[in-house]
Symmetry: C2
Subunit: 304 residues, 2 copies
Amino acid sequence: MSLKLTILGCGSATPTIDRNPTAQALQVLERFFLIDCGEGTQLQLRRNKIRPRHFDHIFISHLHGDHYLGLFGLLSSLHLYSRSKPMHVFCPSPLKEIIELQLKASDTRLTYELYFHELQGNEEQLIVETNEALVYSFPMNHRIPCWGFKFVEKPRPRSMKGEKIREYNIPFSKIDEIRNGKDFITETGRIIQNEELTFPAKVARTYAFCSDTIYDEQIISYVRNVDLLYHEATFAHDLLDKAINRYHSTALQAAQIAVKAEVKKLIIGHYSSRYGDITALLNEARTVFQNTIAASDNLVIEIS
Amino acid sequence: MSLKLTILGCGSATPTIDRNPTAQALQVLERFFLIDCGEGTQLQLRRNKIRPRHFDHIFISHLHGDHYLGLFGLLSSLHLYSRSKPMHVFCPSPLKEIIELQLKASDTRLTYELYFHELQGNEEQLIVETNEALVYSFPMNHRIPCWGFKFVEKPRPRSMKGEKIREYNIPFSKIDEIRNGKDFITETGRIIQNEELTFPAKVARTYAFCSDTIYDEQIISYVRNVDLLYHEATFAHDLLDKAINRYHSTALQAAQIAVKAEVKKLIIGHYSSRYGDITALLNEARTVFQNTIAASDNLVIEIS
């Protein structure tokens, strides 16, 4: 398994019984990222057996309530659990003031350091690098400032062929550099090509998250060739006027972005509460981009 | 039916799968009051088929997140539903600034007027009067400023005996004053006692809400003789030290307040997430006050 995405909420502004507002947990190896944090995210994490303490990085796309109202409760619970690790929140700048005001109103001095990192800029930016992944933000086109996020798994080293270690008597101290691509020189001076000693590294996988946005071809360059693209599809295309008016996209438009960006797979979500059954949205997207799936709460997608 | 209380959430700071944070809906005749509004209240209202638009008055006891984090989402949804009726929120003063900051961050100009009424004072205060009820706030004793609420049904007029209207040929214009206790004088000057013409009015019912608070006998005078008292019972009495340290009460203490205030019925709630099964808390309370029930999410209690 390379990347594992858990949909915690795939609804939009007004929640329904079946759909929580937007939140997703992304696991890259042992690293967990939280993407948006709508109301009820804590409970959804619990239902999906993901421990909040695993997260060190939370990404909030924009400050419509359905994308961040679960954050203060989550941060408060981590405090009550006596968290000591720092927490990093990447968000539009006003969120810092909101959270600090809420902390003050509840007379809470957190048990851990809370850092806010302001999302900004009109182009793709590297905002986080961990041992497992690189995370980029990029601007979307919504009624208020809004960002998408791209998660790029770091290239993994090649895998050693065990029998070659014995065959050429390779010392342990050389393993790391061979896994990173170096050839090996035996005691007799013979050069053994790296390809003979190792299996290729697993391909690094990529995931991009785009919610909320009007149809905007600027986004294509940011998400080009990703393995999985989440793109909002609030409305079916017969409500295009409404989509434009509210700076949202239709399922057809999400699929058009997927086609133009040549992504491997598309997942749609952020459905308007008017849709009880979203089969029509899924079918609409598939007319344009066949490899589309529909988000649903508690759905887990592995990109392996 | 006189009063109908729906428990929307009976958990405490950290939510569990079975227990949402605090929120209650109280119906007095056709009037709906919302008491606290923890995260997830919107969904709980939906599950209980209570329409948010029914509320004109929301009461927030204090600014720990588990008592108000569902409010902004609820207010936003009412905006998206194009509400036009004003909404009145009774709350500690910092909540106004928090909500206004959230509205600004989401660039939202509400479709309806939102009025904040600051809870204050060291004694019982009448804060709302509607056709159906009087609502009082009173101070509780918690780590941060916190208020309880008492809902007093307004006295109802007496009921006319239909056959007496015919017997004494009572004109329609006299009915209201007779229902309000006046005698009737016939055309021949004979005085007919009110008791002969009417049935007694139904007794006005009362409900008091006390969450969160340390054990405090000051509260007794505010809730004396109510028909139903909700009193927090975060811990069992073996954790009294923890209760005192966190300004909470034990189930035993909730029952002691019920006894001393001579209430008719006690309902306990706001259980710590450490208690999966709360039978022990209920039993503990019943050793002191037999007529105790345990709150659970979606429980409906009618005081008739």
